[in-house]
């Protein structure tokens, strides 16, 4: 089964509204990264988290290793926020520090 389950798979937001994406880990995670993939395929680093919270502008992310989940909050969504968001975790059963990706959330921000 999916070791990193990301939800929702798709999301449509009105410009100016807020929302949250979530990743649940079936195996304990040690670090989490969030990326935005643009239409050309490039992965843009948003956050790198050990357990805790980080904020950058309208984005805020949290990683709770005990409860095995991470969230990405988007505040005051803008048109340029549209794209596909991925979480990726370093899972504790990994040998070799690889990232396991969630399935992605396709975000569309409407004017």
């Amino acid at each position: 089964g999916d070791k990193v389950k990301q939800s929702p798979s798709a999301l449509s937001l009105q410009e100016g509204t807020n929302s949250a994406l979530r990743c649940n880990f079936s195996i304990a995670a040690t670090t989490v990264q969030w990326f935005l993939q643009n239409p050309r395929g490039s992965l843009i680093n948003l956050f790198y988290l050990v357990p805790g919270t980080k904020e950058n502008g309208r984005l805020k992310s949290a990683f709770d290793s005990k409860e095995s989940y991470s969230t990405l909050h988007i505040r005051d969504a803008q048109l340029e926020d549209s794209g596909t968001y991925f979480c990726a975790a370093e899972l504790s059963n990994n040998a070799g520090a690889k990232l396991t990706f969630g399935g992605g959330t396709r975000l569309t921000v409407r004017p």
Binding site: G41, S42, L43, A88, G96, A97, L99, F101
Partner: protein
């Protein structure tokens, strides 16, 4: 800042031929480099993880004979797709990091089309 340059950005190859892609890390030492493939359905598969001074570890369903990887120093890695067929299509991404429990930086990807 840390950057990873990946090239080519896209390539088209005839079925049964091979193509090579390369990644260059700038601004940090790429102790570990992982090669991923993203399917047209957007799921990521890890192909292999290469750590300097260690053997390259291939994931199930991927082999060195099909996807040979070179990681000769702390700034460069390459991967070749040998005898490419339709099922090898996708976006190939290299992700590099300086060590365990550090941030991974990705190249912009190489989109492989097989005709």
């Amino acid at each position: 800042g840390a950057l990873v340059y990946q090239y080519p950005r896209r390539t088209i190859c005839k079925s049964g031929t091979s193509m090579r892609m390369e990644c260059q890390a700038v601004g940090f030492q790429a102790t570990s480099v992982a090669w991923y493939r993203q399917s047209p359905q957007k799921t990521f598969e890890l192909i292999a993880l290469s750590t300097v001074n260690s053997a390259i570890k291939y994931e199930q369903n991927f082999t060195q004979e099909k996807f040979p990887i070179s990681h000769p120093n702390l700034s460069f890695s390459s991967m070749t797709v040998l005898n490419a067929y339709l099922e090898d299509r996708g976006l190939y991404l290299c992700g590099a990091r300086q060590g365990a429990n550090t941030e991974v930086f990705f190249g912009k990807g190489t989109r492989l089309t097989v005709v």
